[in-house]
Structures are given as structure tokens and as C-alpha cells.
């Protein structure tokens, strides 16, 4: 039973229920207390020790039902011998020596199931990771059970002819049933151990996918990436949402210490230190929404909007030829589709960084104060217009930090109409950002600067 439980833990982990070694030990202790006799009690008790959230409880129950489902045992292979007499009748003598042949012909379901479990262990079926391995593992499982013997017996029986044919037909049918059962068994193992891993593999790939890839992003991937961005944002938000009071060691709060000491006749028993409250970031995001950057802009906005628990204030602006505030659009539409609304309003103009910065300086400069982090997303390709470096310099002076995210690699920054190398001087950070992974890392850096060490 030890191995069965270990396999069960692995299946749980595959389903994203976290089972640490300590929990595994607890589970073993649980089983010692409750035993296996009462299935419901066994399930509830294990559930209490292993599943730690309401969500995990649902997943636990699904895995439990699949894992401890032994329906297939109740399917004896249809090998009932016709009439009375020896089930092995008509088969060549080597059939007597094959355990598998005897079990098949006798229709011994329980013994077959046991043999299959043992063979599965030898064939390491539970190590299955990908759906493409199913056919191969089924084959190996059957071989481990001794399929080659059966084939030999079949061939020999066919050679005998006469009564051998009838026996061979029955054995053939039993072999087919066994193959179906083995395939169902492997399918179940796949469902238990591998259904999640394919998805995880795909997500890892998407996190590194270039956002300005030729031909854009597949709509199927798009949905998955949106979900991924939201999850990344949730992870960061969880980490930074804790309001911490960071003690300023060494700075005595004299006033509060004196006040506290009153209760003890002026003796300063309680020493109070000054603390500093961690302020939440306030962010101004300025996104280029020209064709080459639009996808990245969409994910950046999704990311920032999903961070609303940890971000104090978020103002978003979009530009190509001119700049507009997109706060209103983002409030009215779900973030996933808001970018299309924005494109409807200002898309398909010729990109002009200088004009856009002018618009910003005229209308929205008051949005920036010394608490604000400005995140600019764009390729800095301004079609040879005046880049208005002076405005960016003003923004830099007024803000806490200016971060420029450029989807292009650094080697392109001074080529053609790119003025990135000139803008770069006025940025605290200028980075290539072309995958979700890079995006996550940069946003985390921004959040971290607000937490004093």
C-alpha cells in the first residue's frame, strides 16, 4: 500500500495539489488511524490532511475518484469456454506453460488485473508525461505481461487446424479484450499523471514567446497568455500586497517613548522606534500602440491593471501620432479587448514620439510627481521627426523613475529611425522587453523599489 500511496501523491502533485514530504508523512499516519476499510472515511481523512484550500479539495476529489477507480477489474475478458470441459481445449501444449494464456482462457479478471498492475510497474507506465507516449506504453505493458507468448501459441494453434482453430479464435478474442483493457489502463494513468504537464510545458513556452513575432499571436495562444499574465500579476500582487511597517532601527521615537513611559513612573520600559510605512507604487504607463508594439502594450496594460491591489494609482496613456488618456477606455471595457478600442481611436497614424510627448506635456504633466514611476513602452522609431528630448528630460526630473521598455533588442537601438540611444540618457532603466517573462521581471523590480530594505 506504501507504493500505492506514493503513486497517489504523485497524481495529486500532477493535479497541482501540493504534497510536501511532511504532508506525505501525515497522510501515512492518517491511514494508520483510519485504515482502508471505510472508503468514505479514508477519503475524507486523507482530504483533511492533504488538501489545503477549497480549490484543492475539488481537485483532490477528482484525483481520488480516478485513482481509486477499479471499474476495469469488473470487466472479465470474454473468454468463457463454450460448453463444459477444459478451457484450454484445442490449444497446443505450450499454452499450458503460459500463465497469461491460462488466465485469459479461464477469464480470471482479478488475476489479470493483478498481473497488469505488476507489469505496469515494470513498464513504468506511471512515468508517462506526454499523450504521444500512450501507444508505446500500451505496447510495452502488454509485452511485459507476456503478449509474445500468446502470439506464439496462436500461431501454433492455427498450424494444428481443426480443434486448434476454435481455441485460437477464443484466445484471439481474449487477447483483443486484454489489449483494450491495457489501453484503457494507460489512458487512466495519463489522465492521472500527465494531463497537467502538457499545459505547463506550453505555458513555459508562451512565457518566452516573442511578442512582436511576425504574423502576430495566435488567438488560441492569446487567451492562454492573457490568463498567464493575470496569474503572474496575482503572484506579484500576493507577494507585495502585505503592508509592512519597516522599522528604522536607530531612530528613536522620543515623543512616543516618553508617552509610553508615563505608565511606569517615567521609566522608559518600552522603547519605541520610528517606523516607515511602505507606500504603494503609483504608475504612469505610456504605450506606443503602433503595429509592432501593440501586442506588448496590451499585455503590459493587462499586467498593470491586474496589479490593482498593490498599485496605488495607475494612469495609462496610448499614442501613435498623438497621445490620449486610455483610463476611460480601460474602465469601460475588459482589459483584454480594450486595446482594440484604443486602436480604433488612434490606430494607424504615423508614429510621432515628439508630438505625443508634447501632448503629454501640455495636458497630463501634472500626473507626475516624485512618487510616480513612469513606464514607457515603445520602439522609439519616430519616423525622423523631432524626438523632443527636452520633454523626456522634464519627465525624468519630476518623477521617481523613468523606465523604458523596448521590444527591440539593444543592437537595433541606434539603427534607422530609432532614437532609443538618445532617449536612453533620460531613463533610469532602459531594457529590452519582448516576452512575458521579461515583463514580469521588470514589473517586479518596479514593485521592489517601493519596499525599503
Amino acid at each position: 500500500m506504501q507504493t500505492a500511496l506514493e503513486d497517489f501523491f504523485r497524481a495529486l502533485r500532477a493535479a497541482d495539489v501540493r504534497v510536501s514530504p511532511a504532508e506525505a508523512i501525515d497522510a501515512h499516519r492518517t491511514v494508520d488511524v483510519v485504515g482502508f476499510a471505510d472508503r468514505e472515511l479514508f477519503r475524507d481523512a486523507l482530504c483533511a490532511t492533504l488538501a489545503k484550500t477549497a480549490d484543492e479539495v475539488t481537485r483532490f476529489e477528482a484525483v481520488f475518484d480516478t485513482f481509486f477507480d477499479r471499474r476495469s477489474d469488473a470487466l472479465p475478458p470474454p473468454a468463457a469456454p463454450e460448453g463444459q470441459g477444459d478451457p484450454m481445449e484445442g490449444l497446443p501444449p505450450e499454452a499450458q506453460e503460459s500463465d497469461l494464456a491460462r488466465m485469459l482462457m479461464a477469464g480470471d479478471g482479478a488475476a489479470l488485473a493483478q498481473a497488469m498492475e505488476a507489469a505496469a510497474e515494470r513498464a513504468e507506465v506511471s512515468r508517462i508525461r506526454l499523450s504521444t507516449q500512450r501507444a508505446r506504453l500500451t505496447r510495452r505493458l502488454l509485452e511485459e505481461m507476456g503478449l509474445s507468448e500468446i502470439e506464439r501459441i496462436l500461431a501454433a494453434a492455427r498450424r494444428l487446424g481443426g480443434p486448434g482453430e476454435a481455441g485460437a479464435d477464443r484466445l484471439e478474442a481474449a487477447r483483443k479484450a486484454l489489449a483494450a483493457q491495457a489501453s484503457a489502463y494507460v489512458e487512466r494513468q495519463h489522465e492521472l499523471y500527465a494531463s497537467g504537464s502538457g499545459k505547463r510545458l506550453r505555458e513555459e513556452m508562451l512565457a518566452r514567446k516573442a511578442l512582436n513575432a511576425e504574423g502576430g499571436i495566435d488567438p488560441v495562444d492569446q487567451a492562454m497568455m492573457q490568463a498567464l499574465v493575470k496569474r503572474m500579476a496575482k503572484r506579484l500582487a500576493d507577494r507585495y500586497s502585505r503592508r509592512r511597517n519597516v522599522a528604522w532601527t536607530g531612530h528613536l521615537d522620543v515623543r512616543r517613548t516618553l508617552r509610553k513611559s508615563m505608565g511606569y513612573g517615567g521609566m522608559p520600559f518600552d522603547i519605541v522606534f520610528k517606523t516607515k510605512k511602505v507606500d504603494k507604487p503609483s504608475i504612469v504607463a505610456i504605450c506606443d500602440v503602433s503595429k509592432s508594439v501593440a501586442a506588448a502594450a496590451q499585455f503590459l496594460l493587462t499586467f498593470l491593471y491586474s496589479l490593482n491591489e498593490v498599485v496605488d494609482r495607475l494612469d495609462a496613456f496610448a499614442f501613435s501620432g498623438r497621445m490620449i488618456s486610455v483610463n476611460g477606455v480601460l474602465d469601460d471595457h475588459p482589459v483584454d479587448t480594450a486595446i482594440f478600442e484604443v486602436l480604433k481611436q488612434i490606430g494607424f497614424q504615423q508614429t510621432d514620439y515628439g508630438k505625443s510627448l508634447e501632448d503629454f506635456a501640455e495636458q497630463h504633466m501634472d500626473r507626475i510627481d516624485r512618487h510616480t514611476t513612469v513606464i514607457i513602452l515603445g520602439d522609439a522609431r519616430s519616423n525622423y521627426a523631432n524626438p523632443r528630448l527636452d520633454i523626456l528630460a522634464t519627465i525624468q526630473k519630476r518623477s521617481r523613475a523613468v523606465i523604458w521598455l523596448n521590444p527591440e533588442p539593444e543592437s537595433y537601438w541606434s539603427q534607422g529611425d530609432s532614437v532609443m540611444n538618445r532617449y536612453e540618457r533620460f531613463c533610469h532603466v532602459a531594457k529590452t522587453c519582448n516576452t512575458l517573462e521579461q515583463l514580469e521581471r521588470i514589473i517586479e523590480d518596479v514593485l521592489r523599489t517601493y519596499i525599503p530594505h
Binding site: 511532511a22 501525515d26 468514505e40 483533511a48 490532511t49 489545503k52 484550500t53 505608565g263
Partner: protein
Amino acid sequence: MTSSAEAAFDAAQSPHFASIDALVSGLDEVGYIASRRIATSLYMAVRLQKPILVEGSAGVGKTELALCTAALLGLPLIRMQCYEGLDESKALYEWKYGKQLLYTQILKDRMGVALADAPDMDAAMDRLHGMGDLFFSEPFLEPRPLMKALQEPAGCVLLIDEIDKSDEAFEAFLLEVLSAYQVSIPELGVLKAETAPIVFLTSNNVRDLGDALKRRCLHLHIPLPDAALEKKIVASRVPGIEGRLTAQLVDFVQSLRGLDLRKSPSISETVDWARALILLNADALDGEVVRDTLNVLLKFEQDIVAVEPQVAELIRQAEA
């Protein structure tokens, strides 16, 4: 074996913990109608000596479970309400500063007499070291709920209510108490529980709890009950209520939960409502009575406004 393990063995030996069924009926006697899953979790918590983390929306009986367990076992209940800013001086222990102050003054007065006949400084220092250092000692310790729970000689039920309202740091500080049933006091060393208490933590999911804390606990999620269970609960909590009214009001509440409300009524609201109806001498639901008492059931003005026009329809459904 340590003394704590033996003593907790006694709690597990109580006849109520002989089997799940015994526990269900035991809880029933003290007025808690437990589902099998709840009873299993409690049973495992006592058997494995682990704290139990109870989650669920407000009013499903999380706190009540702890109260009833204490009543069932005849153990004292020590309750600690968590809130933001709760720290160890309020949860665990504090020094009795005033008495410590007096002690130092007495010490100062006596010191001259005690050291008067010492020939030189070294001898005086030796004598000083020879005296017991009482400044940081147990008589000057003011125990707070957690420590009180560890000091109960016969064990107790410790209820740490709304752990999700406390700070991250406090949660980390609880880990030692919860896994080893001991506390470390820097000045004194480790104090270990004589008898491990039965610990309940409740959470409303205001924030996600840390994995370390979750790992140390058994997890129990109490969902809103189904109609049959809720009827049993109302009948047990509101003695003297008629079966027909119970059925009617529970069905009404159940259908309310199907609506899109800001706060669905939970068990405690159902029970309160049943009591209110008894006080008003209502023997059946009718539109007027329901509209008058809707504020017992629903806690937001917009919910009441949304439900009011549907009351007649909902009563018809409940009767069907």
C-alpha cells in the same frame, strides 16, 4: 514519551472520539449538527494532534464548532480574536512592568544591607551573582491567551479566531506554537505545554494564508449546508419551532442563495430569522412578515431592495 503526548492520548480516548459516528452524535447532543466531513476532520485533528484550520463564509458555524467541541469534552475554551496589529505581547505574554519596577526598588533598598559586610568589591560581586535573578522570571510573567492555553494542566480548546485578519509576522510567530505546542521566551527559554490543546483556527479568506501555516494544519472548509442539514440545524437551535415553518423558511433561504446577492444569508442568519419569526408568533411565511423581517436575513440595503419585489414569488417556490 513526553507528558503532552500521553495527556492528548486521553482526549483521543474520550468515548466521543471512538468513531466518527460517535463524534457526530456527541456533537449533536451539545447542539452542533455536523456533517460527516466536519466530524472526520475533527476526529483526525484530535488523533493526529494537529491544529485544524476552518474556512468558510461568515456565519456557517466555524466559531461554533470550537465552542461545541469544548462543551463536548468539558474542556475550558480559550479564545483569541485576531486583528491587524496583534503582536506577541498581546497574544503570548508580557512582563509585569510595574511589579518589576517595585522589585528593583526593593532590591536597591536591600542591597546595601546585604553587601555591607563584604570586605572588597570582588566579594560583593560574588555575593551579587549568588543571589537569584528574579527580574526575568515566571512570577513576573503575565500570560496572554496562547500561553494560558499551553499552561492548562488538563488541556483546553484554543480558538484562534479570524487568523486572516492578523499580520504576516504574527502568522510566522504562531508556527512554533502550532507545530510543537511550545513557546520560546528569550529571557527564560522554552516553555512546553503540559497537555497539547485542541487548536482551531478560523479564516474568512480576507487574505491568503502562508503555506507554512497551512501545512501545519488540517484543512476544513465548511460550505453552506443543503436543505436537509439546515432544517436539522434550525430545529436543534430554535427549540419549539414547528416543522412546517422550518421547512418553509429553510427552502426560502435556500432559494435566496441562488440569487445574485452581495452577501448570501448563511446559517446564523437563518437561525436568527427563525427566532425572529417565533417572536412575532408567525406560524407560516407570508409576504408581509417576510418583508418586515428581511433585514434579519440580508445585511445590505441593495440586497433588500433587489429581493423585496420577488418575495411573493419566492414564498410560492418555497411552498411548492
